[in-house]
Amino acid sequence: MDFSNFNGAEQAHMTKIIEKRQMQDFLRMYSNLVEKCFNTCCNDFTSKALSTKEETCIMNCTEKFIKHSERVGARFAEQNAEAMNAQNQ
């Protein structure tokens, strides 16, 4: 996004909004992760405690999802940068 035509007050406003969105995005990713990993890893309800196998699955699922998001984010940023360069030429 391009904020070069924003004055100081407008930039300050946008910074506040972006910070708020980032917190909301983080919270959304958190509950999203809980839901996704629970749905994939927990299939035995004969006990209320997490089994060792389930716990390992949850940990790997969380770790892998974050690495996945990071990789998607990196590729996405590269493509946006390329698109922006193409536009400026």
Binding site: M1, I18, Q22, L27, V34, F38, K48, T62, A77, N80
Partner: protein
């Protein structure tokens, strides 16, 4: 929308930032609860719908499901915290490039 009010004091002595934080907390817990309802419904409730009541098996399953879902929330939360810095990086990648002022 406290950001539209600048730093002027709100009418009636209301601290808009405090309200905003409480609302964020409320929305987060509601979202979490709704996902728990939905996940445990998928795990425990038969979709034949032959009768309107929860049977014994479904009821027991729900109780365990809620406990397990909460445990998963804790585990994932701990993981995210221990990853701290890495997460911040992921957050930046997610909004990569297009939110820098």
């Amino acid at each position: 929308m406290s950001f539209l009010r600048g730093n002027a004091p709100a009418p009636g002595g209301v601290n808009a930032d405090k309200i905003e934080m409480a609302v964020t907390e409320l929305d987060t817990v509601t979202d979490f609860f709704n996902r728990m309802v939905s996940s445990c419904h998928a795990k425990c409730i038969s979709t034949r719908y032959a009768e309107p009541d929860l049977n014994k098996g479904e009821s027991v399953c729900i109780d365990r499901c809620v406990a397990k879902f909460n445990e998963v929330q804790k585990k994932v939360g701990e993981k995210l915290q221990s990853r701290g810095a890495a997460n911040a990086a992921a957050g930046n990648a997610a909004t990569g490039g297009f939110t820098s002022l």
